[in-house]
Subunit: 287 residues, 6 copies
């Protein structure tokens, strides 16, 4: 008899043999409105057993690819910089082993920890940022490190024109103005995504998916729901296009299961994660 | 003063005078992930008083047709075969009285009990199966009788080419392969439904509606929500087309009110049941 | 140190300097099915801090316009006529001060209190009524004053052809028949709204928004959810057209936060109220 | 096959043969804080099937006594006086038939409707009032008819010294002062109940049980929970003493199931109602 | 980097070195009223990290004893007999390895599977049964295997006078009569427990804890809550007395987390399991 | 017409005239298990209108004393030290104005910010600490500032023998050992409180109430519920004894309304705050 292994469905590959490494970053320490994303990685593992390993969209099966779920990082609350360091170190270790890290948040700030590690290895990194919110403030309530400032911090290390933003429909006026000069922002929906994929072909890409890009009709379980978002099928289509890109790392964040009594949001997250894993595995094999 | 009658709104016709007989099958004994569909028939009766008897879509009124709601069957938990027998006997009795049975689940396995009875009388029975899931496994955790195997069991008694599946977007790879050879499967949505209706014209039809065919944005109250489903208006359109068919019996299943804190899913079920009753009553009058 | 002011985000203007006055009417005393709209104004103020003051749709900011939130009226339960009088008096006082009242319900009956006051000053008042329900009954359970009769009561004082109804998809047969002769009803959606706006140009308009016109997929938090409604973006488009109209007063009603565990419905209400405020402020400046 | 009868467990006796008549008064129209008691009678019937008909406390069984559950009264919202009349008429009719009415609320104001009818026949009526709240205001927000004023209204028709209050731990200062001169008030708990039972022996008694007399630890499902109440076993002991009294009528009110996600409060209400029925049936047989 | 181990806090001992083996039996297939106990083992593991490994009541720490959590059994729904066999086989294997099995339910019927295995080895087995319900029916809705019949089935293999029941306050009349002749029943509370412990000293004991013996004020998360139960401190005291007994195996069942929105019931279960593990480990060391 | 003031019931006194100043510290940034206490101050203000201003326990009324509610502090997430500074500065300002600060948390760490300010003025400060948890760790996940370390940090500035702990029933072994040498700890309940009050008579006292000292049966709405706590009436009795002490400042913390669907926990907090305000006002008048 063995100990109880708890992983995302179909992701029971041993670490050494794995191509993709899944890990949770259960942190919501800078969330200003409604916390709870810390519970997402665990909820996602639990409810992943309500979906199948097979995707009828891609005709691929998680059981045929090599993903290792190493569980959740242990992150201290109250010390944001240390949290980012732990995330960065883990990302780094996975990259050094020649594997692709897929991080499940947690709030959006966790992206900074991971991008810092990736950009060290890939200075020409481009970031695809799916989100309802700009996340481009310089500071929030006096703080530089916040879910509201994460893309501003990323921009500081990536530089102009490297961040491709889609679905954005909420922010302060000056954030939208900042975007005009420094990022490639597509407001409201995914218009322009196909062109972006072509443009980014062959370049190292980080994919950061804030699930609140989805309309709250299909994704209610998040801290700051913003009506007017994209549909699940639109997001799915975009995820399938990741096959054409050289995705070095990615993250899926901002699920807050406590605001999702029905479990639909968690089920959506599970399904999208399955599709992301299957999709980026295709480019892992080809790059 | 009288005893307290509890029925679906507008379905207070006496049994003898009724054309349609509504009954609940509050069973979820094989549900593997999240149980709760046992509570659906009662919740549907309660919340049916939040809708009107009049349909502006069909310009028809439940008060003008003859439906008798006989309440819920008493079903034992832990003995699946006996449950199916009780359902079968009730269906049989209603058919023998020259009435149309409409069963409210419960989980999807209940369909097998009802189909067994109907197919006895109508060996050429065709089944229209609306669902997010294939339900075509041969067994599940070693069991032949399961919500995941129900259409496989139906296929065993109906034969090849009799089951028309729509909206399917989840299953194991081998189930999709099975469907290619034995059922008529339309993946993801209702494409092809109009043609199917034409083809089935005049033939005896069983309509089995697993409400999780709906996108979870409009129907979150179900055990295994699957994003990427059809809209309410798409389902409504299909239901209106039932008028053109010879519907011998039907069922509506897989509402799980406990995962529907807002009551929207139950309201959706009520509205669809009203439209089904009005729609199939038209063909009852014409056949 | 000061007392604790609690207002809708960005609506902290002093009453004297304000152009628009926001107030809550926390009444649900005639709600027959599921009460709870009394909690809406308070929930909306709380959760308004989850949205931004800036609208990327209109490129306008609440901080640039003059809105005073005077809080909730104190309304007695059990005496409907007195409730309507208090609402009427408040509306009157705001109009007399040359300001535009925006009322947050509460159930739909509150509209009657406000319309009574407005129509006194603007006898040629036209009403734009967004709703899932006809609200045209003559009485409900013997009562003349009810959420189900509110538009019939409004019709009695406005006269034929003054009420423009959109999105209606539920009611009794005789209500739809009444509408054919006395109101301008557009069933199911917003078809015909653009023409209506043109026709109403220059005329005094009251805008009454029952949020259940929205599909329950995006707005589940309401007493009697009706599937088959309009999308958020469709509602937003209509709200933006209010700029072209001379909106004398308006109300937003029927949010019931208790049936909205995720908070999405309240967030939707907040966002729509922001857009309404920004939109009608444009015509206030021009008229 | 029969229509669906929906009654409290074990209360399926025909009206004509019954000794006790149970009915629901689903009214919460004057509730000022958190509505929802309208849902209590239906929830109680549903969940009564989670308890047994047999009481190990009394060694009696509901199946051995004659109770008829006639369902819920149809009560209009928005017209409080009419609601009280309907309740009064029903109570009257039951009394005239020589039966004992047991009313399930709804909010506490319903008691007034019932007491008015009973006191007509029994001018010397004494009222046992179990509650957390005084309910002795003269008016509330200008209204005479309110859940907060119900015992004041009862006092107006019963006179001084007829109302025995127990468990009271919340009210305005002047209400407690009023009680000193006009009612027999026992604050905080049931101290003095045994003596009261002795004193009331042989006199006609109305028992009005506001379930919020219970500590919210065991009864959270109520509009205005007040910590510091009595335990379930204390309430049960008191109910068993009703056997010694000539209970003409009684009511159980203020369960609000929507604030009782676990269902414990509804289960408590069911169990207490079973014990009340068995207990007062004893004195019915003896008087 | 390792795979993600998910166990009860402080129970990470390797199987071979363990003295106690914890496992989950997530089965609720015969639950007739409100299902959901299948989710208990997983919820308990999750929330066990909200308690400490150290008990100030016993001055002992889980980190000092050897418990291996082997996770949940995979149990089919719809085939009750097979479920009991799987449980029996696991129990048997643990016993054969010289370890003490502690099973977390799941519904109460699971006890039968375990007792069958234990009684094979210990024919003189005595059962301590803590519960609100008698569980002594001969059949339920025609079924022999049910949560309502489990102690009757146990009695069939243990014989008269072997089952010591405590806390019982709900059942049918004939069950209480059965108990008088065949079991040792203590109604309502734990009176007589101390004597029972003395009497059972040195004999092989199975301890079956249906958590609904607790008053629902402290344990609301269960299918059929019964007011009038024992307090947490009373249960704790009893658990501490297990040190004096030769406990061969035990189970803790009937937590239904879905009815426990606050998480208190799960926290109670975690704390009691900690105390049971520490307590029975004492007698393991001494026997 | 005025802006909307939002305060705790009966606490509308102007700041300048006030004796007691109430403020919220909506911070839960170091909460490791389940966050949500940030919502407590706002929930408490809302639900305070469900209780009365009059206390039948003290025969005193909030309307007769002078309390000013200044609302919530604006606290940044992610920077714990800054949060404590803001709290400290506010406390200091209130003390300098000769008033008594009453802080509503928020998590327990906020106590440190307040104690730092108070101890500056009153170096001989004694702390009465009501809690289920020791809160005496030296660090938690490597952090010095945490809800789990707060009393250790307080001890560092207050010194040995100054912290009186009551109700403690959870912690690590070494924390209990630390308490033996450095604090005055009373485990499990309030035994010894009366003696402590006598001993502390005349000395400056800080009262820190972690509401989870209450048994979760009456207070479920908290992050880490611990069964076996004190009853509401026991806590109330202790609070009434505060009259005998020179309470310089106090706080009430760890209500997490999101885990309290019924609202009982918030109602309990409101009632206890009313009693604290009335009680400490007595000693303010006398000292």
């Amino acid at each position: 008899m063995n100990k109880n292994i708890h992983n995302f469905i179909g992701c029971g590959c041993d670490y050494d043999k794995s191509d993709i490494v899944l890990f949770g970053a259960p942190f919501d320490g800078t969330t200003s409105f409604r916390p709870g994303t810390r519970f997402a990685p665990s909820a996602i593992r639990n409810d992943s057993f309500g979906i199948e390993t097979y995707s009828p969209y891609q005709d691929l099966d998680l059981s045929e690819i090599n993903v290792c779920d190493i569980g959740d990082l242990e992150l201290p609350y109250g010390n944001t910089e240390k949290v980012l360091n732990i995330i960065g170190n883990t990302t780094n270790e996975i990259l050094n082993a020649g594997k692709t890290p897929v991080m499940i948040g947690g709030e959006h700030l966790i992206t900074l920890g991971s991008v810092r590690a990736v950009i060290n290895k890939y200075p020409n990194l481009h970031i695809i940022h799916f989100d309802a919110h700009t996340d481009l403030r310089d500071e929030y309530l006096g703080e530089k490190l916040s879910h509201s400032t994460v893309m501003r911090r990323v921009w500081e290390i990536s530089g102009d024109g490297k961040i491709y933003q889609f679905g954005i429909r909420s922010g302060e006026k000056h954030e939208f103005e900042f975007a005009e000069n420094h990022t490639v922002m597509h407001k409201f929906n995914l218009d322009g995504f196909e062109e972006a994929v072509k443009k980014l072909s062959g370049k190292p890409v980080y994919f950061s998916l804030d699930l609140d890009i989805l309309d709250p009709s299909i994704f209610s379980g998040t801290g700051t729901p913003e009506a007017g978002g994209i549909s699940f099928l639109e997001l799915l289509d975009a995820v399938l296009q990741l096959r054409k890109l050289n995705v070095i790392a990615c993250d899926v964040n901002e699920l807050s299961p406590v605001y999702d009594q029905s479990g639909v949001s968690t089920a959506v997250a599970c399904k999208i994660i399955r599709e992301i894993l299957l999709s980026i595995n295709q480019n892992i094999q080809s790059f």
